[in-house]
C-alpha cells in the first residue's frame, strides 16, 4: 500500500468515526426495521388494468421499444407507450426536426409512423413478447380517422390501452384543433371510446388556458384516464441566417425545462377529475416522478430522458421502490398525498 492510499483510507475511517455517534443509531434502527420486511407495493391499476409499476416510457421517445432492447431490460418497465400511430403511414416533416434548448429540446418530427396496419404486422409481435404493457398512442386529423385507426388496431391482441393524442402541436393541420377546443375534445373522445376495444387514455395539450376544462371534457366523454402533458409549443431562431431552427418553424418543447409547468397542470387536473391521471413532463429522476405521484398521478411517463439516458426509467423504478421502503408506504398511499397548507381567512 502506498503512503497516499493509506492516508486516504485513514481519512475516510476518521470521518466515519466522527459521524458515528449521530449516524450509527438511526442506521441500526433502520436495519432492525428492515428485518420486519416491509415490501412496498408499486403496482398500479388504471381502467382495470394492472401495471407492474408506475413508470412508463412516453410516446415518441421510445420508438417501438425494440430500439432499446440492447440497452435496458424492457420487461422491467411499467408500460411502453409506442410512437403515435395513424390509420395510414405518415412520412413526417422535412429536416431539421430537432434542436436542443436549455434543459430541453424542441421537436417537430411530424408524426412519422408506419401506420396502423404495419404496426400490427411489424411492431406489435415484438412488443407482445415483453412482460411490459403496451399502450398504443393514436392520432388523426379527423374524428373519422381516429375511429378508423382504432378499428384497425382493435384487430391486434395484447394492447393494454389506447392513448389518444389530441394535442400534438407539430403538424400544421393537426390535432391542435381537438386539444384546444373542449367540444372537439369531447367529440373525439366519445367517438374513440365508442369504437375502442381497449380502454382509452386521453393525452392532453398544455397549450390551453385552463387544463381542468379539458380534463373534465375528457372525463365527461368517457375517457378511462388522462395523460398530461404533451409538449409546449416553442421556437428557436438561428440569428446568423435569420431562419427558424426547425423546418416546421414552431416545435414541441420537452425535457426538464417544462417540469414545473407540467407538475402544476397535473396537480390541477388531478383535483378536477375522478379518473386516473398519468403524469408526464420533464421527468428525469425518481424525485421528479415522486413529485408527480404526490401531486396526484397514478403513473408517470419518462420522455426526453430516454433519448439521452435510456437507463433513466429503470432507475426511477428503483428509486420509487427505495423511497417507498424508506417511508414505509405503498405507491397507492403516495398518490395525491400532497399536503397543501390551509390559508387562514
Amino acid at each position: 500500500m502506498t503512503s497516499r492510499e493509506s492516508a486516504g483510507k485513514t481519512k475516510v475511517q476518521s470521518a466515519a468515526r466522527s459521524a458515528g455517534h449521530t449516524a450509527r443509531q438511526p442506521r441500526a434502527a433502520a436495519a432492525s426495521a428492515a428485518v420486519e420486511t416491509f415490501t412496498p407495493q408499486i403496482e398500479t391499476e388504471i381502467a382495470g388494468i394492472r401495471f407492474q409499476n408506475p413508470v412508463w416510457t412516453a410516446s415518441g421517445t421510445f420508438g417501438y421499444a425494440k430500439e432499446f432492447a440492447h440497452l435496458i431490460d424492457l420487461d422491467q418497465l411499467g408500460a411502453v407507450c409506442v410512437k403515435g400511430i395513424s390509420a395510414d403511414p405518415m412520412e413526417g416533416n422535412p429536416e431539421p426536426r430537432i434542436y436542443e434548448t436549455a434543459s430541453g429540446m424542441l421537436n417537430a418530427i411530424g408524426l412519422q409512423n408506419v401506420g396502423a396496419k404495419r404496426f400490427l404486422s411489424e411492431k406489435l409481435p415484438f412488443l407482445r413478447t415483453l412482460k411490459t404493457r403496451v399502450v398504443v398512442n393514436v392520432f388523426a386529423y379527423s374524428t373519422e380517422d381516429y375511429v378508423r385507426c382504432i378499428e384497425i388496431l382493435n384487430e391486434g391482441e395484447g394492447i393494454a390501452a389506447y392513448e389518444l393524442n389530441i394535442s400534438c402541436p407539430n403538424t400544421r393541420a393537426g390535432g391542435i384543433v381537438y386539444g384546444s377546443d373542449p367540444r372537439l375534445t369531447e367529440e373525439v373522445v366519445a367517438a374513440a371510446k365508442k369504437a375502442a376495444r381497449y380502454p382509452v387514455f386521453v393525452k392532453l395539450s398544455p397549450n390551453v388556458a385552463d387544463i381542468t376544462v379539458f380534463a373534465r371534457a375528457s372525463e365527461n366523454a368517457g375517457a378511462d384516464a388522462i395523460t398530461l402533458i404533451n409538449t409546449f409549443i416553442g421556437m428557436a431562431i438561428d440569428i446568423e441566417t435569420c431562419t427558424p431552427r426547425i423546418s416546421n418553424v414552431t416545435a414541441g418543447l420537452s425535457g426538464p425545462a417544462i417540469k414545473p409547468l407540467a407538475l402544476r397542470m397535473v396537480y390541477q387536473a388531478a383535483r378536477a377529475v375522478k379518473i386516473p391521471v398519468i403524469g408526464i413532463g420533464g421527468i428525469a429522476s425518481a424525485e421528479d416522478a415522486l413529485e408527480f405521484i404526490i401531486a396526484g398521478a397514478r403513473a408517470v411517463q419518462v420522455g426526453t430522458a430516454n433519448l439521452y439516458d435510456p437507463g433513466t426509467s429503470l432507475r426511477i423504478v428503483e428509486g420509487i421502490l427505495d423511497f417507498c421502503r424508506r417511508k414505509r408506504r405503498h405507491l397507492s398511499d403516495l398518490v395525491g398525498s400532497l399536503k397543501v397548507p390551509v390559508k387562514k381567512a
Binding site: 421517445t61 430500439e67 413526417g92 422535412p94 429540446m105 418530427i109 439521452y308
Partner: protein, 297 residues
C-alpha cells in the same frame, strides 16, 4: 447490434489546430465492436442544461499493452471487427475527432484527462463491406473525399481497405490550413493526398471538388469508388461529379440527433425508397448511404 452505453474515462483531449480536438477514450467494450464508418454518441455528464448526446464519427481505434502506454508514436495494433485476425490485442481506445461548433462541443473541449463521459457506441451501420466490396474490387482506385471534419468518418474505412490491399487516394478540402486535421493518419494508407483550402493557405486554392473533377476528367478510362463525408454543398458537388463520370459513390451523412438509436426520428433525411420518396434515419439506416439514394436538395 453490440452497442454499449457506458461511463468511460478520457485518456486525452488533445487540442489540434483550428478548434479541433482529438478525444481518446478508454472504451474497450465499444472499441472492440466498431465497424468502419460507425459513429458514437457522447454525453456530457452532470449538466442539467445540456442534455442530448453529441454524435461524432469514430475516427480511430487503438490498442494498448498497459505497460508502454499508448499513443500515436507507438505503432497502433489495429484490428477492426470483421478483418482477418492479426497479432495483437483488440482495440480498447476509441478516438473521436471533433470541432468545436456549439455549446455542446465547447463543453466537451473543456474536459480533461481522467474526466468521465457517457459513451453510446458503436452506432449506425457504417460502410458495410458486403455492400461496397463488389464496386471496390471493380475500381482501379478508391477515392476518399473529405470536407472539413468529415475526414473523421473516413479513416477507419481507409484502414480497412488498406488492409485488404486496395489502392486509395484522399481529396481533403477545408476552409483553412488549420482545418486540415487528421492527414498524418491517412498518409500510410493512400497513394497520394490532395489538399485544398478555401483561402489558399494550403494546397489547392478553392473547393476540393475542383481538383477532384480534374482528376476524374484526366482518368476517364479508370474506374473509381468514391467515399465522401463533409458539409452538404461539398457532398452534393461530389455526388454530381460521381454521377456525371459514372462512378459509384458512398456518402456518410451528418445531422442533428436526439437518441442515435432510431427511436426519436429526429435525424431523418429524404431518400428514394422503393420507387417513392421517404424519410430515413441517419442514425440507423445510415450514416452511410449510396449517393443516389439521397434526395439532394
Amino acid at each position: 447490434m453490440p452497442m454499449h452505453d457506458d461511463i468511460v474515462a478520457i485518456l486525452e483531449n488533445r487540442p489540434l489546430t483550428g478548434g479541433h480536438y482529438l478525444l481518446s477514450l478508454d472504451a474497450p467494450r465499444q472499441a472492440s465492436a466498431v465497424r468502419p464508418g460507425q459513429f458514437a454518441m457522447l454525453r456530457i455528464l452532470g449538466r442539467s442544461d445540456v442534455l442530448l448526446r453529441r454524435p461524432m464519427s469514430i475516427f480511430n481505434l487503438m490498442a494498448t499493452d498497459g505497460r508502454r502506454g499508448w499513443g500515436p508514436r507507438r505503432a497502433p495494433q489495429l484490428r477492426v471487427t470483421g478483418s482477418k485476425s492479426r497479432p495483437g490485442q483488440a482495440p480498447r481506445i476509441m478516438q473521436l475527432l471533433y470541432k468545436t461548433v456549439g455549446r455542446g462541443t465547447r463543453l466537451i473541449a473543456e474536459l480533461k484527462k481522467g474526466d468521465k463521459v457517457g459513451l453510446l457506441a458503436p452506432l449506425g451501420h457504417g460502410f458495410f463491406e458486403e455492400e461496397y466490396l463488389p464496386q471496390a474490387r471493380e475500381a482501379d482506385e478508391i477515392l476518399h473525399v473529405a470536407g472539413g471534419i468529415g475526414i473523421a468518418a473516413l479513416l477507419l474505412p481507409a484502414k480497412r481497405l488498406a488492409e485488404m490491399g486496395f489502392k486509395q487516394r484522399l481529396f481533403f478540402g477545408a476552409r483553412t490550413k488549420a482545418d486540415l486535421v487528421g492527414t498524418a493518419e491517412f498518409k500510410p494508407l493512400v497513394r497520394a493526398t490532395l489538399l485544398a483550402t478555401e483561402n489558399g493557405s494550403a494546397g489547392y486554392h478553392g473547393y476540393v471538388t475542383h481538383p477532384l473533377e480534374e482528376y476524374l476528367a484526366a482518368h476517364t478510362k479508370k474506374k473509381f469508388l468514391l467515399m465522401a463525408c463533409g458539409p452538404g454543398p461539398m457532398l452534393r458537388a461530389t455526388v454530381e461529379l460521381a454521377k456525371s463520370f459514372r462512378h459509384p459513390c458512398l456518402v456518410s451523412m451528418e445531422n442533428r440527433m436526439g437518441c442515435g438509436l432510431g427511436a426519436c426520428l429526429g435525424c431523418c433525411v429524404r431518400v428514394h425508397s422503393e420507387g417513392h420518396e421517404a424519410y430515413q434515419r441517419v442514425c440507423t439506416e445510415g450514416p452511410v448511404f449510396w449517393a443516389e439514394k439521397i434526395v439532394w436538395k
